[in-house]
Every structure is written in C-alpha cells, then in structure tokens.
Amino acid sequence: MRSLSAQAPRRDPAPSRVAYRFQRLWLTPVFRSLVRTGLPSFALVVGLGAYLTDEATQDTLDAAIADLRASVAERPEFTVNLMAIDGASDGLAEDIREILSLDFPLSSFDLDIDAIHERVSGLDAVASARLQIRSGGILSVEIVERVPAVVWRTADMLELLDAEGRRVAAIDSRTERPDLPLLAGVGADAAVPQALDILAAAAPLADRLRGLVRMGERRWDVVLDRDQRIQLPETAPIIALEKVIALDKAQDLLARDISVIDMRNPVRPTLRLAEPALEELTRIRAIERGGQNR
C-alpha cells in the first residue's frame, strides 16, 4: 500500500483524477467546439460590441473614415476643374451652368453624375445629354438640342415646339421666329407631326397660309388670309387638303368670296360664302326666280 504520509512519488506515469477528467471533458465534442469556437467568437462579439458602442470610439472611427476618404478623393487625379459643354447654343449652355451651379475645382467622388444627367436632360431644350469625366479633370457635357419646328400660340403665350411636339422654349412675340409656321388651339402640341405633314401638303398655298388651328383636340383647320378656312376631316386630312388645292387650281376656288370650305365630310364638300357673296347670290336667285315668274 502506498504510504499515506509520504510524499507522492516523484513522477507517476498515471494521470491525476483531475487531469484524467479534464482530458475526457476536452474530448467531449460539444465542450470542445464550445471552447474552440464558441468562447472566442463570444469574446470577439462582446469585445467588439463594447468597443463599437462607445460614443467616443464611434466619433473617432467616423473621423478616421472621413479622413481616409478625403485623402483619396482630394488627390489631383480625381479633381474636376472645369465643365465643357458641347453641342449647345450659348443661351442653353448658360442655362445648364446656372442649374448645375457647380463650383470647381471639386472631386469626382463628390459629383453625382446620374443626378446631373437627370437635371440636364430635364431641360426643355435638351433632347439628350451625355456626361463624361475626361482625363485632365474635365466634365464633358455633350448636348443634342431640340430644333424648334413650329410656333404654338395658346391663350396667354407663344411657345416653340419641335417636330415631336416637345416644348423647346417660350418666345415673347411671333416676330422672333417668323420663319416657323404657326399652330393654335388646345392640344395642338399633341399632333405636331400631323400638322407638319399638313403644312407640307399645303405648300402651294404657302403665300396665303396663316396657320393651323386644332379644333376640339381632334382635327385641323387651315387658316388662310382673308379669313378663309379649310376645315379638314379627322381622318385623312391631307387627301382632303389636296382635293381643295386641286379644286383651287382648276376653278380658282380660293380666290372667290368663300369664307369656309368644309371638308369634314370628304364625300360632300361644302362651301360657305362670305356675307356679300351670299347677298349677291340671293339677289341673283331672286332675279332668276322673278325672271321666271315674270
């Protein structure tokens, strides 16, 4: 028997009960994974959480991140020094500079290209815009302008519209653009392509043409001087107009004292005489009737 009072032997190959139990505990898979992954991850989460939730640390971190960003963004490779606007008239370029109101130099990180593109494209006079930051710190804006095709007179203003009916600009007086044909009437801007076709067809009448009027947002009236009107139908207005022109060529129709040529029903053109012509016609008819009666 091992002596109770004596010292333990210098080296016992057998593990102590504690060591034995600890080894068995350590070989338990649950305990092992808990200690090897659970505890470190728990400590990491708690430690990081405690560090990050501190107010001062957050400020420091934010400042550090801002500094880092600034140090990159302020490098000369990323500075944008000027804006070059191509394809725009001077007035439009002025407008663009005004609405963007960028104060150069600034970093390309601070430029929100998408927003700028949206704002430039939002201008009425701009058909499309391409933005690019070119090397050398140039913000290049390539503009395709809308070309005004007609002048549209509404109740209170004069507007320039392009061939698709999109608004280009407002003008103060008709004399600013006498070269463009005039449209009038509510909803005329929605049918500008048709109006342009009619105007093209009405080229033989160009010297007498005053403009087109949109009637009831569905059909056109061609207005000539001497208060003559050609009322065109809703469908196939060009054919109707060509008929009128053919009549004019054959019988000199428009030169007569006629106020309205009603082509709204194309199979039954109707003429409205002007007041003196009507009286003259009534008188002639009365004479004819009287002559007959006599």
Binding site: M1, R2, D12, P13, A14, P15, R17, A19, Y20, R21, Q23, R24, L27, T28, P29
Partner: protein
Amino acid sequence: MTDLYQRQRAMRNMRLAAMQRGVVAILDLGTSKIACLILRFDGPETFRDSDGIGSLAGQSSFRVIGAATTRSRGVRFGEIDAMAETERATRTAVQAAQKMAGVRVDHVIACFSGARPRSYGLAGAIDLHEGMVTDTDVARVLAACDVPDYGDDREVLHAQPVNFALDHRSGLNDPRGQIGNRLACDMHMLTVDSDVIGNLIHCIRRCDLELAGVASSAYASGISSLVEDEQELGAACVDLGGGSTGISIFIKKHMIYADSVRLGGEHVTQDISKGFQIPLATAERIKTFHGGVIATGMDDREMIEIGGQTGDWEHDRRTVSRAELIGIMRPRVEEILEEVRVRLDAAGFEHLPSQQIVLTGGASQVPGLDALAPRILGQQVRMGHPLRVQGLPQAATGAAFSSAVGLCLFAAHPQDEWWDFEVPIERYPARSLRRAVKWFRDNW
C-alpha cells in the same frame, strides 16, 4: 439469480447503447500489463441488414482507432489487489488510448483472467405446448436448466446455450421453428468469485466509465487465437498470462469449459529473481532477452551480466550462463504446463474428437516452448497468435494481446447468452404487473 440476470441484461443494454454511439473501449486487465483498445463501429458491415457473419468474419464492422498499453499495477493473479493502483494504471491506459483515438469513450468491455473460474454443464428439458419451437420456448428451456448450488460468493460470468436437442435429435444449433414434443438444452455456465468482479466493476466506475460487458480472458483469447475449424472440431486454448494461465475448451464454436491455473510468467520472473538474487526488473529483462526452456551446449558459453547496484564490485560484476537461466525457467514452465495438463484431464479433454492445443499469451513467447510443450500436452500443440483486426497497431498484434483482440471480436459478435432471451413468464413473481404485461404481449 434474478439480480444477476438483471445486471447482465443492463450490461447488454449498455453495450447496445455503446454500439449505437459507435465507440467502445476494450480493457484487458492483466497481471503484467493493462491494454486498452478503442473500437469504432462504422465499417461497411455495421448496417448490413442480412444475417450471416459477413465478410472478414464480421471484423470489417469495426476498426481499432486507439490502442495503449501500460504496465499493470496492483493486480495479482489476474485479480485486483490494490484498487487505487489499478485505477491509476487503468486511467493511464484509457487516457493514452483516448488521446490516440481523439474521442471520448464512455463504455468499456473488460476482461480479466483471475477469480477462479469454474465451469458447470447444465441440462434442462421442457415439453413443448405447441408443436413448433419459438423464442419463448428457448427461454423456457434455458430457465428450466437446474442450476447447481455454486455458492453465495460466486457470480455467473457466462451462461451460454451450447447444444439443443429436440426429441431424439441432438446437436441442434438453432431449434427455433422446428417441430417436436420435447426440447432439451445443454448450457455451459462459468462462475467467478463475486468479490473480484465487484472490485473490477468498482475500479471501472472510479475511472468514470460504464461497464458494457465482462468476459473471461480465457474465453476471449480462445475466440481470437483458435481458427475457425479448431473452434468447430474441438480445441483448447491455453492463455499463458502474467499472473495466471487461462484454459478454455471450444467445440462446435462454443466454449464448453474454462479454468485457470494461478501460475504465470511473473512466477518465472520471481524464480529468476530469487535464484540469481537480482531485482525483479532485471530478472524480467533477462527473461525477455535471454530466456528459453531448451538448453543446448552453446548456452553454457553464453554469459549474461546480471549486474547490481550495491557498490560491491564482485557482486555487481556477476555473470550467469544462459544454461543456468534455462535451468531456472524450465522447471517453472514445466510446472505450469503440467498443471494445465491436469486441468485438461480433469475436464475430459482426451475424449474430444480433436485434441488441438493452442498456446497463446505473453508467456508463450519464450523460445523453446514449442519444443517443450508437446512433451507435456501431447503432439497437437501450436503457438497461437490473435487474429488480425483492422487498425490494430503492429505493437499490439503479438500473442500477449490475444485476449484484448478476442474481446474486440466478442464486442462485435457476442454469442447468445442466457440473459439475451426474454424471461419466461413463470419466472416472474405471481402477482406482478410485469407478468400481466408479458402475458398480454405473448398472447396478442
């Protein structure tokens, strides 16, 4: 009897639980060494649903993933002598094996060689109620075996049905499903000292392990050392251990007799130590390196330094010839073998059809034993090695590990024991609820 039945059944359930978990430890508590193997049951055979023993005799169902051996402490004659020392040695072995395996093991199957095993042949017979033999009938016939009075201080370690007879037909391996009127069975029962097995259970408890099975080491080394035809035709396995020598006789793949001689290799060492006046450690070393049992003329000239630590030059420079060493070892080895012969004769070994004797165990490795043993045990003697099992380290494949390896096979393929069958209804107390439940289960 019921108490023992319950305990063995509990151990069997524990073993099933261990199998479910897949890891079980094998502990061979020997006199000279304690070996611990850790088995993992994950082989391709584990989940095979068909019956039969499968490829590689079912060994491919498990793999040894940890093995450790340590010098035994506090064990004499295969019995625990100093509990605390044995516990330390067990902890050493288990810890090293766990470290090698890298898994924690909770269930252990143990074997030991001592505790004076005693064999009984039991016979029982019943009349069958209905013509066909069922599981219940087998349980009834096992319960009907008349158990001898083996003493209060003894425990049943093994109780295996060996043979069944149905009417006039004997030698049945499995009578179930056969038709007959009278079923008889022979059972082999092995009892051991209950103190010893109690100590063993307590020692394993103290190591925080659960005992999932106990076997006699003579039985275990018989399983691993005897080849299949030897087990079938009849053979004896002599496990020459450190403190005791186990004998088991097999026929028709069943153990029919087991005994042990309380002599072993340690006694040889003690003889050398006493004869040459040298420490036991030196004697063990000399025995291992130079030992033998057959002297030749050459051995007179081979001098062995036996040394000493006294400081006396004459004493410390002593030498002995190998012939002298053999002269000391041989009588003791002869004594052991003669004692084995006596036990075999007492068991009636000479009446077996085949009288193969297989020597295994650590002490069987002494050179010249293969020439000495036939003079005492008869001509059919061979040296046995345990079966190769998967994953066993080379260092643990020697004859000294035959009982550990046998225990692995025992764990993988336990033989049917008495307690594997349901208790027949007659054994329950007359008014117990379980009897009623059992009656219902049997009849519906």
